[in-house]
Subunit: 760 residues, 2 copies
Amino acid sequence: MHNFIYEIKDFELDNDALLLGETLFHNANGYIGVRANFEEGYPDGFKTVRGMYINGFYDFSEMKQAEKLFGLVEEKQTMLNVADTQGIQLTIGGEDFSMFTGEVLESSRWLDMAGGFTARRVLWKSPHGKEVEIVIRRMTAFTRLALFIIDFQVTVKNSDAKISFISGHKGDVMNYFDPSDPRIAGESFQHIAVEKVEIWADSSFITSKTVKSQLMCCSGVKHSLSGKPETALIQSVGGATATFSMDVEKDQPVRLVKVTAITDSIRCANVRKACALELANATSVPIETLYAEQAQYLADCWKRCELNIDGDDDLNLALRFNMYQLIQSVTKDEYGNIAAKGLSGEGYEGHYFWDTEMYIQPFFVLTMPEFCKKLIAMRYKTLGFAKENARILGHTRGALFPWRTIMGSECSGHYPSGTAQYHINGDIAYAIVAYYLATGDFDFIVSTGAELLFEIARLWLDVGNFYKGKFQINDVTGPDEYTCIVNNNYYTNALAKYSLYWAAKFYGLLKESGKLAELAEKTGITQHEIGDFIKASEAMNLPYDEELGINPQDDSFLQKKAWNFADTPKENYPLLLHYHPLHLFRYQVCKQADTVMAHFILEDYQSQETIRKSFAFYEKITTHDSSLSACIFSIVASRLGFAEKASEYFGDSAKLDLFNTHKNTKDGIHTANMGGNYMAIVYGFAGLRLKEDGISFTPILPAKWSGYEFSVSYRGSVIEVKVSGGQCTFALVNGEKQSMRVFGKLIDLGLGQPQSILMQ
Amino acid sequence: MHNFIYEIKDFELDNDALLLGETLFHNANGYIGVRANFEEGYPDGFKTVRGMYINGFYDFSEMKQAEKLFGLVEEKQTMLNVADTQGIQLTIGGEDFSMFTGEVLESSRWLDMAGGFTARRVLWKSPHGKEVEIVIRRMTAFTRLALFIIDFQVTVKNSDAKISFISGHKGDVMNYFDPSDPRIAGESFQHIAVEKVEIWADSSFITSKTVKSQLMCCSGVKHSLSGKPETALIQSVGGATATFSMDVEKDQPVRLVKVTAITDSIRCANVRKACALELANATSVPIETLYAEQAQYLADCWKRCELNIDGDDDLNLALRFNMYQLIQSVTKDEYGNIAAKGLSGEGYEGHYFWDTEMYIQPFFVLTMPEFCKKLIAMRYKTLGFAKENARILGHTRGALFPWRTIMGSECSGHYPSGTAQYHINGDIAYAIVAYYLATGDFDFIVSTGAELLFEIARLWLDVGNFYKGKFQINDVTGPDEYTCIVNNNYYTNALAKYSLYWAAKFYGLLKESGKLAELAEKTGITQHEIGDFIKASEAMNLPYDEELGINPQDDSFLQKKAWNFADTPKENYPLLLHYHPLHLFRYQVCKQADTVMAHFILEDYQSQETIRKSFAFYEKITTHDSSLSACIFSIVASRLGFAEKASEYFGDSAKLDLFNTHKNTKDGIHTANMGGNYMAIVYGFAGLRLKEDGISFTPILPAKWSGYEFSVSYRGSVIEVKVSGGQCTFALVNGEKQSMRVFGKLIDLGLGQPQSILMQ
């Protein structure tokens, strides 16, 4: 039986622990995210990142460049903190509830990943001796995305008492800022202004507008309280406050349910009307119905992303926590995406990066591929911005996707490690192909995928050039940001080769299926251009060094100096916080997997021998200063049969956020790392690959595990994989029969016909 | 007879012309600079850059980086506008003088380069019919650097009248800003605050302090007026106003002399006391004495930098204007330098660049080498900052001079085209060696030059590394900012080779002369380190392409795409204002001379054949978007014997500022261009070179000139060079006998023994 509860008992109340808790226990559903701030707040002087966010909802803010140069980004987007509806101050017999006064007799916080809610339970003794049990459940609903619910239950244990709730609805909010940390916003700015506050019988509505992007959002709040309280709804500047007072008997629980509905103008025409409707619908059913819907939704999810490591319950819990975070962070429509921090905090200002395509989609494509479709559709929606971005960069054709963005235009301040990462284009192409290979959903290629591939391929043709018979891509930056603006980055060129190949391939498939005409008309793509794609793909320069027998990260990587790791003190990591970029550029030192990552995603471009040598070479010089690195090394170690090394790289990284090992989980979860851990097991240890010739596995089992099992979706079927006892077993649990390769051997899997194969 | 007057008659009064005039007619003496603002100001709504500047006097201001990365510059220096003492409002019979009211019957402005002053003469008819002649002379004194003088003469031509002067002394000033132009400050900031205003019998003093750098300056103003006026000195917030009224008779001139003295705390301990002393000294002698001192100073200068093109008076005037600007812009002490715009405006915020060493010192080293000594001494004063900068960039030894600075620390906002220009180190080394070669001043090498060379050489060792037997310098930017962060930039590596060689050479000379001990003790330099210098110098990688027979600008320059010049519209130049840096990086297109410049300064590193081919190659792809480029192409064309091509490149660039061909002379003069024009003649057409084996000439004569002549100082002697009538003649006009090479042939030149050699 799996454990779906992540719980902390007797939790600490120091400020760092509280900030961390705000992230770990946040609620999200892919549309809205609410940090786990205490309803009653913290004492004065405590820092808090108090926030509620909408996926894809942003304002513009100035990005000041130290020197003005043509095309540098001067305006970025920031994910906004919207109306605060978390505030509830409970008063018992005149005493305000606070965990910082009186005595906390018992406390716990938990996340219920089956129920889809978080909870806080406190047994509290007030300064004047009242004993009160408080249980607060919070939920953002998966089935009704607009909803955030606080379910607040109070029981006075040792006397009758008069209690009251003062419940806030505050429109006058700002984003968090910290000028000393480069990873979050450096200055504050009033991004959102309240347009209207309305009080109705039992609800309040705040309609707000963003300052520059001129987007609207509306939040509605409605309370329901057991018993018959006196009620007052008071309007104040920028918000509303509801007060409820009542006499309660000893041991008789009182329950306040506060329902918030959020709507925005990106998704609906009349935010106020839509908000009222959402609120009315939600409050017309008992809260138990909402809980039941939520549990049902998650039961379905968990069935689809079954994953278990035999005998390591801590690890299983961490992996489940990570998958839960991905499920609650990922957009459910094409108006959002999945931010580097999900909807859990303001780190990286809510921007979407390549993390989406290379670290998160690999999870969804095998479990809930319909989310990949949304993520790709979101890129498609922003294709116009990507074309505009390409023009700014001087390209006369094609599209260049932004390195970081919310609504589609580039938000990178430092182009050498931002906009120059052209591989984002290849990453998107790769994710589209992966979706296609996993699902066979050709209709989506016709409607969306092929056009994206064509524009991406066009960009590669425009950025590169033939030189001495090879197709070169100069002055770009690979994933490793410790070496920027280089020529023929192996990772970039390999993905460019792949994108160009698949653009041509899709063209052929469209033609064959008679579905080309419309797209050819729309995009102007011709057979001649496709010929150019193929030529460039085939002539792509993939740097190879004869002497070392490896793929150098770029043309000049091997002529750089060796980094002196022996004399680099521990406290100097991550290096980017202690060395000037130009200094890092001059050394053979990598922040993260780059060429090694290419060896994972495009393993057929090199021999096993080259990959082995490359792996050994880069292993020595990679600092893993990025949380996206170790999982890739783990996967390639698995691929090379280094089970123990793979296991070491996998290590504790699944627990990065739970244990706050990077010390910045307060700013939000690390969604890419979470996806990466999944990948390290399924693509790593189990050796799953999706290629043109189908799905394949080459499982290994690290010594410290007795076995592992997981389910994946493939072309509409669900396949269960178990590795243990010296063999691996594959079973089709639903859907049509599927062929697959295991250790290179083709097997056909039908319902009720599991097949076991000896480990190699 | 040479023309020393640059005059504009009936000058225009539109705003652009006035802004241009503010620069062209500014006064400076290397310590202070005053823009030529009208004493009475312009009408409301006119833009003006009204300023008085002190060389080396600055405040810090924030430089905001779009993304925070380790070591990026976050604080820059800005040359400050100090107290405004230009204001004088003349009133005649109640009517305020203004060229924008009444009628201007005659007007002219001129710069007298023999007298060392500027002047404005206006014959003005007031709205009520008074005819007034106004002649205003302005001077910053070369012999008393603290002084700025306005000599204001008024004659009422057609009646008696009551006239008055209201003369201002204003401490409450700010710098000019324009958020739309990247080349000047983007925002305003109160950099200087008045500490004290004092009014004495006939003078006023304003003592001010800068906000962040906490520097002090003091300005004192004293008036003297012919006749016996009523006088009032009125103090107001942040300044003082003096009013003089008197009755004057028709045709009787009245003369107001307003003397300003400026002192600063960089140069003196008590600015107030020093200012009073300067003012008292200046006003204790008749103004005619000050004029005479000024003329005497300039007569000496002009003797030393004689330069004449036979029969092209316009060009001679332009060249003289340029030399005058260099003389008045260059610091006279080691607390300043020479800014890209001199002391004539606020472009580039008063920063010093490599322009000093590579474009301006080549003029002074042959004419007034004592100024080179000051310029080198200024670099030496800031050696500590250069070492600190090297540490920020991760270098464990040596010094890295800043790409742009005032007080010594780096002010580059965009490091790829700023801090990455490590060649600044080589440029400084080159200028030191040039000074030594021209003067033989070994004492200065012992006291200053050798230490600089050692620290520069150490930096090269630290930045570079051996790879396959060659010494590599990776990830730097050469002079051509259209290709940034490259490996083995030819120009940089050539200068690194030269610096390392000369560091070793100076070490040897110091050792031989018994003067090594102290410096070895101070710097810790050892014979072993010198051995490393020599090894690196000899193994320096100077990229050479066998196929083309040229030196590629860097390792990967030839694999880049060819720029499509045919389809680039004229209005897209300069390219940097129309293309993203990453786009430019990907093309074989140069902003300015880079490898070609190396072929000028270090011509012996390559064969004539290679230089010829390189020149032809780079000529096709260089846009000359920088004003520092054409002169270098001209010089190398001369070197290759392409007299007409050299002549074309020389073209009208001597008139850049006089004709405002770059449209930004309002922000200040282009000092490097001015030096470059001198170089194009003396180093270009006359082929002068300073090398270890002495001075040499290989003159050519472009067809459009009948001849030219100039004088240069060499090792304490003055040599006159004349080219005309098919021969060149060399004469020693004073000093000891000197040997030189002409067309490779050694000749000895004694006093009274001119030698003529047939042109080749």
